[in-house]
Symmetry: C4
Subunit: 507 residues, 4 copies
C-alpha cells in the first residue's frame, strides 16, 4: 500500500539535490530525471515541492510519466487535506483582464475575429501568447491575411446559384470542405477537449485534420470515435534520435484514419516569437512532452571558439518544443529514410519558393502534396505568404499543379479567403490558430462554430461568384494585379546567372 | 359593430397557440397566419399580445394586411385608454446615444458625410444598421468610395464657364441630373415620407428614381403627385413563385411614370452584413413585406446529407428581405420569360465584370442599359467597384458603350465622384444610402438637400474643368493611372487559355 | 461742424429701413447702399446700429468708403464716452482655445509647420478658416505637400560646397531667392502689417511678391518703401464689368516696381471650401472690398426653369470675394483685350495640364511665364499638384520650358521641396499660406522668419546635393519614380483618338 | 601650493569680463579663452562662476584642457565644503519622465527597439535628442528602416542547417560578424564606458568598430585592452585647418589596431536636426571638443551683400560638432593629400548614388571600400536609403562590387535586415544608434546585448533561409520587387542627355 504524505513534507524537497513533485495526487521523486527533461531542469525546479498537476497536465499526453520515470520514482500519494487552498498561478490568468464574463454565446460570434476575441478572454496568458505569437515583428503573420484583402473577386451574374457544393478530395480521400485543420500544438492549453475536440468538430463538417507532432493527446485518443471515412494526417518533426521518429511512425501505422505523413520543413530551427518568450516570466514555464534531451544541434559552429554562444533568453513554449528536433533534413537523405519506415504518402509542409515546389514535384509519387506555408508567420519574419508562392509557381513552373496537390495555410479569416486560395490553384486551405481559438472560446463546439462560419461564408462566396463546385473556381474569378506586382521576379541583373538552373539541378 | 377589447385581455394571447396583435387600433388574431409569415413566426411571436403598430407600420405598405389576413382575423378594436404608456422599444432608439438634439438644420449640412452624420443621430439603431451595413469587413463598401479619390481631375482653363448644364437623358427620357436614386428598400424606416418623399425631391430636381421591390410603400403611392415627365424605374426581384412577379409586372404596367424594369442580379443570395445581423438582438425583429414563405432555395445541396446546414444566425433585415427571392435566374431563361410579361425595356443591375457587360450588350434591344454595381458592397465583400468594371469594359470591349447605356452606383459622396464616373463612360450615377440618409435627416427636404448638394458640386466641378455639358466629359478630363494598374488583367499565365472566348460563348 | 451722436441713438437704426453704422468714430447712414454692397446686404445688417470698425477695417483698403458712399451719407461723429465697453465678437476669437500665450518667440519656430501652429493660436477663427480651408475634402491640398515627400533626393558627394548662391531671375529681373510670395488675399486679417509687411520681408530677402487683386491694402501702400530693384507682380481677377479692371490696370501702370500682370485662371468660379463656409456662423460675416454688385454670371443655365438654383449656403470669405469676377475668359478674347490695356508681360496662373501649358507657350511673347497651380487646393478638389503637371510637360511637350518660364506653387513646406521643384524644371516656387501664417505669427518679422527658414533650408539642401547655383539643379538630382507612375497617361484605349491633336488645335 | 577658493568667490566671476569655471575641483580663469572656444563663448558664459564639470566631462577627451589653456589659467582649487548641494541641471534629466526604474534587466530586452526604449529612460534629454534626431521630418531615417521591411525573404527548405557561420572579413581582416559599429560621436553622453565600452563589446563578439572623429575619448583610450586581431577603423572629418587633420593622422598611425581611415563625405555641412536644436533650450549647451574657431565656411556667398546671413538658431550638439569641418573636399584634391599623410587604405563613407560609387571604384586601390549611407538620415532629409543605392549599383554599374567592398549603414533593427543587406551585395552592415542606445541602456554590457541579439537573429535568419555561410547569400534569397520599382531610373525624358556620361567623366 502506497505511503501517504503531508504537503509539508513534500514541500521540503524543492532543490536540485532532492526534487519531489505532486502529479494527479501522487508524489514523485524526479531528482534523477532533472537532467533528462527535454525542456531543461529549470522548468521542473520552479515547481519543486509543489503540486505541479495544473502545469503538467494540459501539455503532456497520457503515458508520458510512465515512459520517462522508473516505477520507483513514485513515492506514494498526497493527503489531500494537507494541500494548500489553490491559487491560480500568474501565468494561468486570462490574457485580458476582463471582468468575469463566462463562456461566450457561440451563435453571436459572427466571424473568426470575434471567435479570437472571445478566446482571448478565456485563455491563460501563456496559452494566448503561444498561439498568438509570431516571428519578430509579426510582419509575415500580418501579410498572410492582408494579402487576401488585396485580391478582388469577380462575380459572374445571371447564373443559377441554387446549388452549391463545397466537397472535394485530398489525396483521393473525399472531404466535404476544402478547409482542413493544420497541425497545431498543445490544444489542451486552450480547452480540455484538446485535439480530440477538434477531431469531433471536423467529423461533423467532413473536414480533414492534421495531428500535430506536439499534440497534447496521443494520436489514439484524438482519432477515438472518428467515423471510418474521417480523414487525418499526422505531422512528423524528425527527431535527432531517429529511432524515436521511427517508433512513432510504427505506432501511427496502426491507425486506419491516418492517411498520410506531413513532414514539416518550415521550422528546422525555432523562429523568434517574442510574445511567447515574454510569457516565460509569468509563472513557471510550461514543460514539454518530447522525451529527448536538449542537444547542441542548433549552436553555432563559428570557428572562433572565443565567442560566447549567443542565446537570447528563450523560454517560450515554442522554443521548448524544438528540443530534440533535427535540423539536418535533406531531399537526398530524409525521403529515402522515410520510405523505409512508412508506406503512407508524404506531404511536405513549409515550402515558400517555386524552386522548392518544383523540386518537390520531382519527388512524386512518394511526395503527393505540398503545403505552401510560412508556419503562420512563426518561423522567419518577412517570409512570403502562401499566395505569393502560388503566384510564383503559376509564373515559373505551373506543371507543379499537374504533378502534385498544392495546399496552403496562413492568414485565412473569411470564406472569401478560402475561395481566393482555391482560385489560385490550391486544393485546400489549412487553418491553425482559428481552430485553437475556437477551442479556447468553446471547446469542440467552438471549433464547430469556426468551421460552420467558414463553410457558410465559402458557400455565400461561391454562389455570388456564380460557381457551384469548387473545381470550377479559377484565375478568372479573381483579380490579383495588386499582388502580382510584388511577387519575386527572377531578374537578369542579379549578376549571378543560372541560379534557377542550379535550383533545378539541386535535385 | 366592432367589439372593443381591453389591453389586459389582448395581452393574454401571446403564444403560438393563440396569438393576437394590435395594429392601427384594431385587434387581430394572427394565430393561423404564423406559419405563413415570410419572415418566420418568431418575429410575430415577439410582439404577441402587444400593440405591434410601431414595428409593423414602417415596413409594410398599405394593403399588406388585407392581402394576407382573412376578414375574420380582425376581432375588433382596442380601448385606447387601456393601452400602457408607450416606451420606446430598444431597437428603435437612435443609433448614437446623442442628447436630444432635434432635427438638424439642413442648410448647415454642407456635404453628404454631414447628412449621414445627422441621419445617424435621428435613425433607430435597426434602421441605421440596415442602411449602413455591408458585406463582411466592408472592404468593397470602402473601396467604392476611395477608388474615386484615387482618380485625379484635369481642369482645363481659360475657357468660358459661364454656362453649365447638368441635363441628360436615360433611355431617351430627359432628366435634369445625371444622378438618380437607386432602388433602396424600406425607406419608411428612415422617415414617414418614405419612398414618396424621395419621389417628391426627385421631382424638384428633375432626377430619376428607381423604386425598390422592397419598398415600404406601394408603387402607386410613390408616384402619386409626380409630373407627367418625371421618370421612374421599377426594380424586380424575381420570386421563386413566378406568378407573384408576374402579377407585380401587370400592376406596374398601369403606371405611366414607370419607364423600365430594373432586374437586380448582384444579390441572388444575401451577403453577410454583420452590422445588420447584430441588430437582431436589439428589440424585436422587423417583419418583412413579401408575402411568400421561406423556402429552401438557398440551402446547401452537398451530397453528404450528414452535414448540418450551416446557418450562421441571421436575423438582420437584409436576410429577411431575401425570403422568396429566386436564385435560379439565367440569361437563357429569365429574359424570355420577362419578354412575355412586360414590354418595358430591361435594365440589368449588378454586373461586375466586362464579360457580363459584353454578354448583356448582345441582348440589346431588350436590354437597354446595365448598372455596374456591387450592391453598395452589401453582397460579396472584395467585389470590384464599378470604376474597375468601367475601366475593364474600356480595355476589353469598348463597343459595349455603343450598344447599351452603362450606369453605375456605389460610393458616390461628391460631385467630383459623379463627374469622374461620367468621364469614364457612365451615363448616370445612382445614389442609394445618400438618399436614405437624407430622408433620415429631414424627410423629403433632406433628400432634396442631398440632391441640391450633388447638383451644386457637380456644376462646380464641370465649370472648373472647363466643361459646359455632360456629354463633353471624357477620359482626357481624368487621370486614372493609380486605378488602372489595379484592374483585372486577362493574363496569359493562368494556364487556362480560352476563358474569355468561353465567356463570349456563354451567350 | 459735424454733429455728435450718442451710441443709444445710433443703435436704433438697425434695420433695412434705416441702417446706420459707426466706422472710425464716424456715423454713416448706409441704408441706400445696402442693395449695392458686393457681399450682400445681410452682412451689413448684422452690424446695423453698432460700431463696425473692427469687422470693416482689416479687409477694406483705404478709399473704399469714399468710392462707395456719397458725402451726405456721413451723418457726424460718435461720442466715444457713450460707446459700450468692447467685447470680442465671437468670430474674432483665436482659432484654438489656447491660454493667453502672447506672441511667439520667432527664433524658436524651427520650420513652417511650427509657424503655422503659432499663427493658428494668434489668428481669429474666421481668418484661420479662410487661410486654412481648401476644396471639399482637402485632398489636393494634402497631395500638394505629400507629392514632394514622394520624391527622393540624390546627393552627390566629394564636391566643394563652400559656396552656395540662391539667386536667380524672374522674367529677367534679378532676385536673391527662387521663392516668391503668391497672391494671397486679405493679409490684414492676419496682422495690421498686412501686404505691406510681406513686402518689407521680401525686400529684406530679395524675394519677389505678387500682389493679390483682393489685397486689404492698396497697391500703392504695399509697394511704399520698396527699393527700386524690388520686384512685384500684380494679380488680376477680370471683373464682369471690364471697365473696372481697365481702371485698375491703368492705376497699376504707374507703379514702377510692378513688373508683370498675373492673370489668375484656376478659379473662374469659387471652389467649395467648407472650413471657410462653416465660419459664417461665427459672428457677423466679413464684408468684402470689391465695389461691384453680385450678378448672376455663375448661375445655372439649365434649360429647365423649374429647377431651383442650387445654392448651398455660402458665406465664407472665399465665396464673397468672387462677387463680380468674370467666368467668361478665353484665350481668344481675353489676351487681346489685355494687350490693349497693358504693356506689361502676362503671367498666366493656374494651369494644370500639359495641354494648357502647350497652348500658353504658343502665346509667347505676350505670355512670358505660366504658374502651375491648383490654387492651393482651394478650387477643384483632386485637381493635380503642380509636380504632376511639371512631369506631364516633361513627358509630352518639354519645349514649353524653352519658350516660357514655368513657376509653381502649392504645398511647399521645406527647402527640399523648393529644390525638388527647381530640379523638375520650375524657375521659381510660390508660397501663399506660409507667408500669411508668418504674418499671423509675428507681422513682418514673422514673414521674414518664413523666408529665412526657407532660404537656410534651401541652401543646406543645395550644399548637401553638391550644387552651388540653382541653374545647376536638374532631374539627375531627384528620383521621381514614385510619382511618375501616377501621372496622366494619354492612353490609346480612351476610344476617343485625336484628343491631344485637338487640344493643340484649340489655339 | 595652489590657492584654495570659496565657491562664493568663484561665483562672482560670471561675465565675459571675468569668467571663471570650476573643472575637476580646479578653478580656471577662461576669460581670454572665450573667443577661441569652438562652440562659441555663449556656451561657457552660461556656466560662468559655477562648477562646469558635469557638463564638460562627458564630451571632452582627456588632454583637452591642457591643449587649449595656458598653465597660468589655472588659479587654484575649490574648497569642496563651499560647493552648493548639487541639483541636476534641467538638460540632464531623463528624456522620458519615468518613475525611478533603475537599470534595465538586459536579458529581458528582446530586440533593438526594446533596447532603445530602455536607453531612452536612462539618457539625459540632451543626449537622447542628439542620438535620436535626424534631418527635417525624419523621412530618411524612417525610410532607412521601412525599406528593409518591404523586402521579403525566400527561405529554401529541406536543407541541412545544423551549422551556421557569421564570420567574414573586411579589407582582408577577419571578423566574426558582418555587423560593425559605425562612427558615432559622443558616446560618454550615454554612459561613462563611452567608446571604450563599445570596443570591449566588439571584442567579445569579434566585431569591427569605426572610431568617431568626435569621440569623447582619445583613440588610445578606446583601443586600450583590445586583442591584437581586433579590427578598428578611424573616421576623419577633414578640418579647415588641414594641419590639425594631418596631426591626427600621424597620431593614429601609431595604433596598430586601426586598419583604415574612414573619410566621411555625407555631411559636409550639418543637416537640420530639429530635435537636437530644440534641446538647446534645456539647460546650458554642451560645449564641443574640437579646438578650432568657428569660421565662415558655411555662410552664403550670394552676390547681394544686403541679405542677412540666414542662421536659424542652431545650438544642438550636431551643429556644434561641425565647427571647423572643411566643406571643400573633392575627388581631385583630397585623395592625393590623404595619400601624402597616411598609407592606410581609405574607406569613403556617405555615398548615395551609383554615379559616385562608380567614381569611387575608379580610385581603387587607394579607396578599398565605400559605405553607402545617408548619415542615419541626419544630413539631407529624403536622401535615399542605402538599399536604394545598392540596387542602383546592381542596375547601372555592378562591376563596382568586383573592384571595391561595399558596406552600408542606416536603419538596421533586425537580423533579417542584416541578411537582406548582405543578399543585396553589401559586405557588412554598420549600426550606430543601436550601439549608443545599448551603451545608454547598460554600458558595455548593453552594447554586448545589442550585438548578441543581432548575431542570434542573423543566425536564425540564415538557418531558416537554408544558408550556412554569409558568402552564400544572394539576390535569389530576397524579393525586392516592392523596392525596385521606386529606385532611380535614368530616364530619357530629362531633356538633358549625357548626364551619366558626364558623371563618369567627372573622374
Amino acid at each position: 500500500m502506497a505511503k501517504v504524505f503531508d504537503y509539508a513534507e513534500v514541500s521540503k524537497h524543492n532543490t536540485a539535490e532532492s526534487c519531489w513533485v505532486i502529479l494527479y495526487n501522487n508524489v514523485y521523486d524526479v531528482t534523477s530525471f532533472l537532467p533528462e527533461h527535454p525542456g531543461g531542469s529549470k522548468i521542473i525546479l520552479q515547481l519543486a515541492g509543489t503540486d505541479a498537476t495544473e502545469e503538467y497536465d494540459p501539455i503532456h499526453p497520457p503515458g508520458t510519466l510512465e515512459e520517462n520515470l522508473s516505477a520507483s520514482a513514485k513515492l506514494g500519494t498526497i493527503d489531500p487535506a494537507t494541500l494548500p487552498s489553490t491559487e491560480k498561478s500568474p501565468g494561468s490568468e486570462p490574457a485580458q483582464g476582463e471582468e468575469e464574463s463566462g463562456p461566450p454565446d457561440l451563435e453571436n460570434l459572427l466571424n473568426l475575429d470575434e471567435v479570437e476575441q472571445a478566446a482571448t478572454k478565456q485563455l491563460s496568458r501563456k496559452a494566448w501568447a503561444y498561439y498568438f505569437s509570431a516571428g519578430d515583428d509579426l510582419l509575415s503573420k500580418t501579410l498572410n491575411n492582408t494579402v487576401y484583402r488585396q485580391i478582388l473577386l469577380r462575380p459572374r451574374v445571371f447564373v443559377d446559384c441554387t446549388n452549391c457544393d463545397t466537397s472535394t478530395s485530398f489525396l483521393g480521400h473525399n472531404v466535404r470542405l476544402p478547409v482542413y485543420v493544420s497541425p497545431a500544438a498543445m490544444a489542451r492549453l486552450a480547452h480540455p477537449d484538446g485535439e480530440w475536440g477538434i477531431a469531433q468538430a471536423c467529423g461533423t463538417f467532413g473536414a480533414m485534420q492534421i495531428i500535430s507532432n506536439n499534440a497534447s493527446m496521443t494520436a489514439e485518443q484524438i482519432v477515438a470515435g472518428a467515423a471510418p471515412d474521417q480523414v487525418f494526417g499526422w505531422q512528423l518533426y524528425v527527431q535527432v534520435e531517429r529511432w524515436k521518429s521511427e517508433a512513432q511512425l510504427a505506432r501511427i501505422k496502426k491507425l486506419q484514419n491516418i492517411k498520410f505523413i506531413c513532414l514539416t520543413l518550415d521550422a528546422p530551427v525555432p523562429g523568434k516569437r517574442e510574445d511567447d518568450e515574454r510569457s516565460k516570466n509569468i509563472g513557471p514555464n510550461l514543460p514539454v512532452r518530447s522525451a529527448v534531451q536538449e542537444d547542441d544541434s542548433t549552436s553555432t559552429t563559428s570557428s572562433e571558439p572565443k565567442t560566447p554562444a549567443p542565446k537570447p533568453k528563450a523560454g517560450g513554449i515554442g522554443q521548448s518544443l524544438f528540443a530534440g528536433t533535427a535540423a539536418d533534413l535533406t531531399w537526398k537523405t530524409t525521403l529515402p529514410w522515410l520510405a523505409q519506415h512508412t508506406s503512407l504518402p508524404i506531404v511536405l509542409k513549409g515550402l515558400q519558393t517555386h524552386e522548392d515546389a518544383y523540386i518537390a514535384a520531382q519527388h512524386a509519387p512518394q511526395v503527393k502534396a505540398i503545403i505552401l506555408s510560412n508556419h503562420g508567420g512563426r518561423a522567419l519574419d518577412t517570409a512570403p505568404p502562401a499566395v505569393h508562392t502560388l503566384l510564383e509557381i503559376r509564373k515559373y513552373c505551373p506543371e507543379v499543379f499537374e504533378r502534385i496537390e498544392v495546399w496552403v495555410d496562413g492568414g485565412i479569416k473569411r470564406g472569401t479567403d478560402v475561395v481566393k486560395a482555391l482560385c489560385l490553384g490550391a486544393r485546400g486551405v489549412g487553418v491553425g490558430r482559428a481552430a485553437l481559438f475556437g477551442l479556447g472560446a468553446g471547446g469542440k463546439e467552438g471549433v464547430a462554430r469556426v468551421l460552420e462560419i467558414l463553410k457558410a461564408e465559402t458557400e455565400t462566396c461561391m454562389r455570388l461568384l456564380g460557381v457551384e463546385r469548387v473545381e470550377q473556381l479559377g484565375m478568372h474569378h479573381i483579380n490579383t494585379r495588386a499582388v502580382e506586382r510584388d511577387i519575386y521576379h527572377d531578374s537578369g541583373h542579379t549578376g549571378r546567372p543560372g541560379l534557377w538552373a542550379k535550383a533545378r539541378a539541386r535535385l
